[in-house]
Each structure stands twice: as C-alpha cells, then as structure tokens.
Symmetry: D2
Subunit: 364 residues, 4 copies
C-alpha cells in the first residue's frame, strides 16, 4: 500500500486536496449487511466542520457527503464504499501572496522536499481538510462496530473524546457520558469552569494574533478484551500510527502516560479482580485498557498532543527555494486552536483501528 | 500482512517465542549489493543482550545470529535475509508455578483473551525476547541506510538513543556524539551525574523488590529532508507505530512533545533560515525534525516512554481463568528496569522506519 | 488490503456497482510531476465503452471521467488520484424479473453465497462495468510509464492487445503496429479476413440468441529487462493475477503457452545472441519475454482466454435460494461477445502491473 | 510487502537460495489452536523431494523440516510459524564452469538484469528449491483448512493434483480419489497406460539429452461456495498469482480452459439444479467451480502448464554480460521433466490461496 491507505482488513484510502475538486475516502473490506445511514456520516462531518463558532476558522464548507458506491437501501453491499465531499468554498486566491515561500511551522517546505513541487492553492493535502475522508470513514467504522456488537449480542464500544487541555489550561475530569455532553462546550471540554478558561485563552491568543495547542483525551468503554495483533500491530501500535499521522500531532500517550514513567511497578501494576458479572477486571486502571498491546476490557484511555496552530497572522521569518529568509505575514481562514475540532477526528482515528482489528480477528 | 510484519518495501517479519527453539527475523525487500557484516548484527544483539551487568536480567543468552539466506560473500543478494538466534538458556521451569494465573501488569490475560491459550513457558511472544528479531533487522536497516547514503554521496543518518529518565531521575543533555559515548554508562545515560543517580535508583528499587520505568530519547542527525509518505505513513505515523509496538511502551513524543502543547504558535514555530552551505534550515528545532509528517533535515528528536517493569518479586493480586483473585509472588530472571536495554531496541525501530521510507521513495 | 485494491507501490482501488451512482478508482502511489491528461483517460474509457457498434451492448454511457484529486495543471501531485465516472444510463428495471433467481453462468449465486445478499439491480460489482475503474487507472499507469521512460531517456513500453480468436475463428498474425491499427476492425482483429469471419460468427450467434468467447493476445515491446519481483511477484505472477481477475477470464498463457508444453527443451530454449546495439537478446522468442519471472527485454507476449458471454436471450435452467430449478429467459443489454471490448481492458491490466513493478524497483 | 510474501491474512514468506545455508518459510496469521504435526510437513516435503526415482534429479536432500517457532505441543500458538530446512547437499562446484555465462531458458540473465549480480552457486533463489518453503507452508495451510472445517462441522476441502500431460502424452481421466492413488505412478499420472507412455517419453528425452514439459491438473472437492474476494482477489485471480509464480509455469487455465473459448454460451453455461441434500449445484461443471471469481461449491478444476526443463546436457548458445554468444554445455543434477515433482507444489500453492481466503472472510 502507498501512504494514503490505512488498515489491513478494513482498509481506508483517503483522497483530496484542500483546494481541489473534492475530498473523500474509499473504505474497502467492510462486510455486507451493515446498516449505514448517510445522516450518520453527515453528522460526523458536521462535528469537524469549520465555521461553527467564532473560535474556529470562518471557512464555510457545507461538507455534504455523497456515497458513490457500496451501499444500497441503507445496507452495505460488501463492496468498496466511496464517499465524496465537494470543496465548495476553496479560495485559492488567499494563498497567492506566499505561493513561493515556505511558511514557518507548515508543511510547505517538507512537501516541496518530498514531492518536488508546491500546491500553491494552500496546504494541499497537508491541510487538515484531508481529515474529512478520515472522519467519513470513521463513521463507517462505527457503523461496523455497532453491527458486529449487535451480532455478538453485546454493547458496541463507545468512543468518546474531549478537550483535556488548551494551552496551559488543563482539566482532570472523569470520562463524560457521551458526545452530546462534550458538545455542550464550544471548546468540547465538559468541565464548565475549564471550558470557560479555555475560551478566554483562545480569545486572548486571537487578540494577540497568536495560536494555541492542546490535548485531546479519548476513552473507549465496552471494548471487549483480546483486541490487538502482536507484535507490530498491537492495539497501541496501530492507535499510535493512526493518531500520530493526524495533522499537528506531537505525541500519543496511553493510560497514565508520562506519570507512569515515574511510578514503581508496585504502584503501576493494576491488581486483578473479578467483576460482579464474572469477568476479569482490574481494581485500578493505570494501564489504560491495554496490556501487552492487547485490550483488557477495561476502559481504553489515551491522550493525543497537538502543537499550536502554525498559521498566525503576524510577521514570521519564512524562506523560498532560493534566496535569503525574509519576514512574511500569513493571512487566511484558520483556527487559532484546532483542538476542539480535533475531538471528532481523534474519535474517527480510534474507530478505524478498532474496526480493522475486529475484522482481522474474525470477530464477525 | 498479519501482525508480525512491518514495512511496505523493507519488510521485516519477526518470529519466535521466549522459550521456543529460536527467535529471529526475515527481511524482505532489501536491495542487492548492500555490504552486510554478521559482526554488525552480532554487535547490535550484544547491546540488547541481558546478563551484562548486575542491573539487568541474569538470563544469559549468547545470542549468536545465524544468517540463513540472502547474503553471499558479505553482500546482500536482493533476496529475503533470514536471521535466526537460538534460545539456549530458556528455563521454562521457572514459570510453572503460575502457569494458570494471570500476572498483574503482564500480557498473560490479554494473550489468553486473544489467542485462547497460554504459553506456560513464560511470556512467549509477549516477552521482550521478541525484540531480538527487531534488533537484528535494525542492523540490516542500518547497513542499507549506509549503502544508500554512500551511493548518493552523502553521510548516512546517525541514529543515537540514550536513557533520558529513569524513575524520577531525569537529565537534560545535548545529543551525545555516538553510541560509544552512550555505552560508557551502565544505564546508558551519558550524563555522569544523572547516570550515578539512576544506578542508585535502580539499586534501591531492586532492594525494595520493585521496578522502575523511564524515557529513552533518540536523535537522528544527517537525515535528508523529504522523508515521509503522507497521509497515513507520515514519518511520525510510522515511527509511532514502530515504537508504540515495543514492549512496555506507554507513549511516543516528537520534538518538544508535552512542552509544545503549552506553547503559543509564535513560540513553537521555528523561523526558517539558510545554512552556510545553502540548505534550508530552522534557527530553533522545536519541531524536532518533522513538519507535516515529513523530515525537514533538522535533527529528528523523539522520546519513548516505558512503564516500570511488570515483574516484581513481591506478592500481588493475580487471577486465573476461573476462581477468585489471590496473591501471587512471581519469581524469575527479570530486569528491575528495562530502559538501558531498550536503547538499542529504540534505535532499531527507528532504523526500520527510515529504511522502509527510503526504499518506498525510490532513494536508491 | 481488501479485495478491491491491486499493487504494492502503484496501488489501484476500484469502486462502484453497475447500477449505483458512480464507478471509478483511486490511484495511490503515483509520483509527482507525471503529465496526466484527462483526455487520455477519456479516450481509454471510450475504447471500452459499450454501444459503439451493433456488435456490442446497446447500453449507452457517456463515461466522462472526472478527476476529483491528485492532479493540478496537468501534472500529478504525488497524492491519490481519484477518478469518478457517473452511471447515467442504469436501467435497474430490466433486471427486476429475475431478481430472486440465480442466472446460469453468472455470479448471482456465488455473490449471494459470499455476501449474503443480492444486488437486484443487475450484476452489481460483478458486472464488467467495474472495469471502468481499471481502465481509468490503466491510463494513469501508462502516463507514468511514459514519464519514467522519458526520465530514463528511453522509449516507453508499448502495450498493444488485439482479438486473436472469437469462437472457433482464430488468426495468427504478427503483432500490429499500434492500437489504431487494431481499432480499424470492429472486432479489433487486425487481420481483415479473420475480422470479417469473426463478425459473421458474432452475427450468427446473435441470430441464434447465443454468445461467443475468444482470446485476446497482448504484446509489450520496448520493455526493459529486469522487471519482476521474485518469488511470488514475478512478472508472470502479477500479470496472471491482474488478468485472471478480469470478468469472464478462464486462463492466462505466456509465450508459446499450450504449445510449449509439448516441446522439448532443445526446441523451447531460445538461444542467446547480442543485438546490433549490444544488448542481450534471443534469436527466437518462445519464452515470450519472461524468464524466471523477470522480463528479458524481448517482446512480452501473453494470451487471455474469455469464456462465452453468460447472458443469452433464450430459456435456461435457473434457480432461486429456495425452490426447484425452473427455466428463465434473461433479457437486458448485453454483448454477444465481449472480446473486442476486452482488448483495452487487457491492456489496462498489463499497464497496472508494469507501473507497479517499475515503481517497486525504484526505476525512477 | 516485498516479493517473497503471499497472502493477506494467512501470510507466507519464503526464504533461501538453492546453495545457501537453508530454505524455509514463515507463516504469519495462522490462528492459535490448529493441530500441526511436523510429520505432515515432512511428508509434504518428501513428496516434492528430488532423488526419488531415476526420472528425477539425483540431488539428494533429506529435507528434514525444523519448526523454529509458533507451535507448542502440537498446536499452533497464533504466532509466526518459522520452518527451516537445511541445504545439506549443495554442490556449488558443479556450477563454476559457467558462472559467467547466461544459460538459455534459465533465469541467469534476468536475475542479473534485475539484481545486478549473479549467484554463481546455481540458480540461487530462481531454483525450484525455493518451493521447499511453499510446500512446507502448504502443509500448514492444509492443517488450517482441516481445523476450520472441523470447527464448522463439515469436511475439509480435498486438494488432489496429478500429471495430466507430459510432452505429447496426455490423458483424460476423472479426478483420482486421493494422493495415494496418484503416487502409485512414478510420474504421478493415475492412468496406468498413460503413465507407462509418459515414463517412456521421459526416458527417450533423457537418452536424447533433452527434456520435457507437461500439465498438472488439480481438483478441489468439498470446497464450500462463497470463497473469493472480488474484484482483484477473486479465487481465480489469487490462484493464478500463486500458480503462475511457480518456476517454469507458462499458463493457468480454469474449468474447461481453452475448450471454453470455442463454446457458445448455451453450451458453456451450466444449468443450475438442487442436489439431493438441498444445496445448489450445477448439472455440468464447465465452469470448474468458480463463477464471478467466487467458488460455487462444485469441484474446483484447474490446469497448470509447465515448459520443458531448461537444463539439457547438450551444447546450446549462451552468452555472458560481455562478449559474443558461444556454445555451452550445462551439466548438473536436474530433472529431465519436473512435472511429477510439481504435483505437490501445485497442491501447496492452491492450499495457500484457500487458507488465505478462508481467513480473510472470517470463516473461523
């Protein structure tokens, strides 16, 4: 496979540039008979869509998905599911001013080094707009997970992510009940006090013509034990791959993450116990639901670190393929902080991994 | 591919259980004509070998590699390179006492959930002994990287990792010159003061029948710009996959990692400049050598987080497939801290990714 | 990868059902900077399009390709190339009469057995309409082959297929000069006498409400030696895969094919010689351009066998999921002989293999 | 994947050169709990082993397999199964005489063109000795098929191949009952009269210092309907790939093969019926068990065409990298006809495909 595909059995290929005709995905390997509602896909895209609040990019895309193949009368056919979303609001002109300059913190230079050209129409495929395909595919993955769980007569894994930190404002809350509880906050932080502080921090950064990063935490409950395909395709390995390949990600942590490093084994080892219904569980969850790269059945917990947005409307030292560096001020429609919009993208990436591993292991 | 292979063009498959006949790897896709010395492989294995100091596992394996195929008169043939290492010192009897119990913090339960059986001979393939195959393949990868660089008449990428933190003892040092400078320290921390403190910490943990985790930092210099295959197989995506699939890893961080999260864009964006020899560079390196998932030519920098070793010789609450939890004391030959031995393993994982991407991009 | 993708480095994924919204493909792995003209794709689709003569299906599709991504200002971007072709003339009603019956010689029963459902709108993805995606991708592959050859300052491989046999009418001609010479004949047989006989045979079959099969021969000239990736991905292995997966194919033969079986080694071995320009060649070409699964530089020659079209407008014994067999007469718009339209499809399949192998071997 | 691996879920990687240390395979993806007897592997290797009769190569290898990993107490562990067979009887000296010449009909020149070097120790990996790994893996595949069938409480697919033609001597017999019935004949043709004629033909060729080709037919009974993964990984596509990548293969035909080409649809379409036990069947089997690339449940039938052996002990026109062509007489230990030994190799290739598709489709 080339670099735009992910998965072995549930294989997602995304396509599309930020300012081309369309973006989208092809999902190959989804079994037949999975109920798939285009509204579920549209809803997922709506959650990642820019232009929703003053805090995010004013670029407005309706992001209406179109299913080109693979679904008939609301059920998957077992054939490739192609989903396309038109780029209706691309304004390439915005970018002309610096089409021969490499912007600091951006992929302009590295894509030039890799491909020998620059797409002068904006970030091209390095743009976060590429994640439209991942989110649409993630909605298919969630439909599959629901169908597999229904067949096995158990509850489907529930994937819920939220904003854990923006800039220096962090929270420590228990996992929210569901996505609706997360979406109550404009920054998707279901801790009212932290949410307000995060909003203030973003507004302050915006006033300063600056930007912020942050952390998205994701928890998956009702995940059965036994998911993971050692040694390379451990659950941790595949999740790290799917998440670290998202735009602007600087790290992925599992369970207690950095705190685990400073613990002793006697603190970090979670004692085993048996739950009231007879299942094996642990009394604590430092391990975050994964041991030896395979799910334990305890809630899966991970953190995804995002750097501050590279585009800031203030002069910075840029450079071209030739010539000396010189100050450049980048304009355009960009989020001062991508973290709230990254929440559904993280959920989608996690769903892709869980769907792929579920199929690989024959859990039909 | 199933879960024991990694890579698209430089494809590594590892095989072997901790207490089976042999461990090893097959490397497929390495071009013909690469000088490959079995001594280089033996040296790499020697660096990860247990039993070297009082601080590591007393299990003694000579770990002599045997090349079964793919190399003739010191040159690769372009055919699969199979490397096998016999397990000469497996003591399955050590494990019999708890072969029907799932040890806390170990993969016993999850492998049972995944595969429906337990290898009573110890960790089986969940054991860190599996990394013998990765390290041998990493030595092949480094030979390939050297050959590719020689053909292109540039210096080969230099991959150097070291112990950055053990338990609560951390250091902040500049990247060491080479691996010899790292190996001076018994814990592979090239900061004499921190090294001494780490040794003391490990000895204290050992006295307390406990264990420690830590952080391995890795830096790659002389990496050309343009390496990475978006969107899923970005350099960050593949590195995270290779590293998070190592035993005991709890996280992977790129560049400034957690610190980046709290920065503003104006701090984190590295200004572009032109180096004296005309190449494009940045004046700082917060980005750690990767922008948009593609190498920039600046030093690649990443951190790998390891949890404390699960095996501790004190009573812990274990459980079996049936019955209530009960205290268990696990004996055996285990490291109180794997971090020093993880250093060459991290280097190998990084080398696998760089070799694969180099071939995929046709940099022959 | 799941079953709708082909290739390792030049990866083609096709999508679409015969009577869904659209058919098409995504090509991932094509390097940047390849000149790609949408007219070339349109022309390739035009050659496989039904409705051109009285001898082929009266279904009329304009088959206008739309490039959704991966191309900008006539050059590939190095990103996935998504191409979509709308299904404008699907007449699902035609099929309603036998939506609960399995037609003899068709894939109705086997797709039901595989996927647990039937697409009542015709052959679904088992229809030859699926090959639209392969032909579009084949045009991209040919553009890549041309670009690679231009960079290497040699002539591009010339892939020319033609109708070698229809029903019992066979010809033995030298390879035609180019596709234009082939397209002169309505049945794509560049032997005027055989062509006339083939047309008569098809008309006779049509009168008898029956159908015919045939053989497509393909020759590739100017293919450099050294193409093939043993042991599984030999040139023969990949070509056989690409060709035997086409609809209605019953066999693939290389070089002298069936005749080779009855030869002795002394007859079949082609003596080596040196061509006037110094290259190594053979004085005869029984081997058809491949030895040991790798191209020799001599013309590649292969035959693809097609069974007679399954759809015939006369009563046949069909069956449903339940109940006894019963006669069924299938109506619809179908070719009495697919062989002429298969010619560009075979060329496309061959182009996909050559493009993939060229990239895998780093012949940039 | 690189070229020495085959399969998506049941992934086989073979390794080893004809005159290196060892040949073998790694099978990744085989589920845990499959009974696997080393005797079954040894028996399969024994059937392909040279040196059994005067009709085959006098090279004598004991071909004792050693299982390095993945099996414990007679059951698979779900981890990679590495199998190694030592090369004990390699006589590289035999080859020294022509190490700088390319033998006609051999892969010497093409491997040189591909890899830029020659393995002077004989055919290297182009030698049929490479198929040791395929045959060992085939034995694992058959063990898996048996285990899957047992779990599903049905009979396992029975794969039986035999010699259908040698040189100009062909037979037309019904599928033999089992492999024992085939092995009665020294040329593996279970038609006593044809067998005798084939033996005479081989002896005549041997006397003439010449060689013969032939056809292996393979039939699989008790194969359930529904196996195949369209559109590229149809059962036909994968079988063609596995078979056409075997040494010396010149073609693969399904069902009626070449005869189908000259039939009309009304002759070739097999009428559907219902078998006494209620299953859907066809009254004839022109289609050879595959429709639309998916198994029908009728016996799978295919022919594999082998060219005459390239090595013949008489002068032929060879060439070197430099210089003019000149006569060369090749000595060594080679079969005058490989077809009898190809029988178990064809069976193994078919088993690999069936095992892979069975796992891919979740038929656990």
């Amino acid at each position: 496979m080339a670099g735009s595909s992910f998965g072995q059995s549930f294989v997602v290929t995304t396509f599309g540039e930020s300012h081309g005709s369309a973006v989208g995905c092809v999902v190959d390997g989804c079994p037949a008979g999975v109920p798939l509602d285009i509204e579920a896909i549209a809803h997922a895209l709506e959650r990642r869509r820019p232009g929703q609040t003053a805090l995010t990019s004013p670029r407005r895309e309706l992001d209406q998905p179109r299913i080109l193949s693979g679904v008939y009368q609301g059920l998957t056919l077992g054939t490739p599911i192609a989903i396309s979303v038109e780029n209706t609001n691309a304004r390439a002109k915005d970018y002309e001013a610096w089409h021969d300059r490499f912007r600091p913190g951006h992929a302009d230079f590295t894509w030039f080094a890799r491909f020998g050209h620059r797409d002068p129409r904006g970030g091209g495929r390095a743009s976060a707009r590429e994640t439209v395909g991942r989110v649409a595919a993630g909605a298919v993955a969630e439909a599959l997970l629901a169908a597999l769980a229904a067949r096995a007569q158990r509850g489907a894994p529930r994937i819920v992510a939220w904003t854990q930190q923006i800039g220096e404002i962090a929270t420590e809350i228990a996992a929210p009940l569901d996505r609706a509880a997360v979406d109550v906050s404009p920054v998707r932080c279901p801790d009212a006090q932290a949410s307000a502080a995060m909003i203030a921090a973003i507004e302050a950064a915006q006033r300063d013509r600056d930007s912020l990063g942050g952390v998205v935490r994701c928890v998956v409950t009702d995940l059965p034990p036994g998911l993971g395909d050692p040694v390379f395709d451990k659950l941790t390995g595949l999740l790290a791959h799917a998440l670290a390949s998202l735009p602007a990600v600087r790290g992925v942590l599992f369970g207690d993450g950095l705190a685990a490093v400073a613990m002793r084994g006697s603190q970090h080892n979670d004692p085993f116990t048996r739950s009231p219904d007879g299942r094996i569980a642990t009394t604590t969850n430092h391990h975050g639901g994964v041991l030896g790269g395979i799910s334990t059945g305890m809630p899966l917990r991970l953190d995804v670190l995002f750097k501050p947005v590279a585009t800031i409307p203030q002069p910075q030292q840029a450079i071209g393929a030739e010539g000396p560096p010189a100050p450049l001020t980048v304009l355009g429609r960009h989020d001062p902080c991508v973290v709230p919009r990254a929440v559904p993208i993280v959920e989608a990436a996690v769903a892709l991994v869980l769907a792929d591993l579920s199929l690989r292991q024959g859990r039909l």
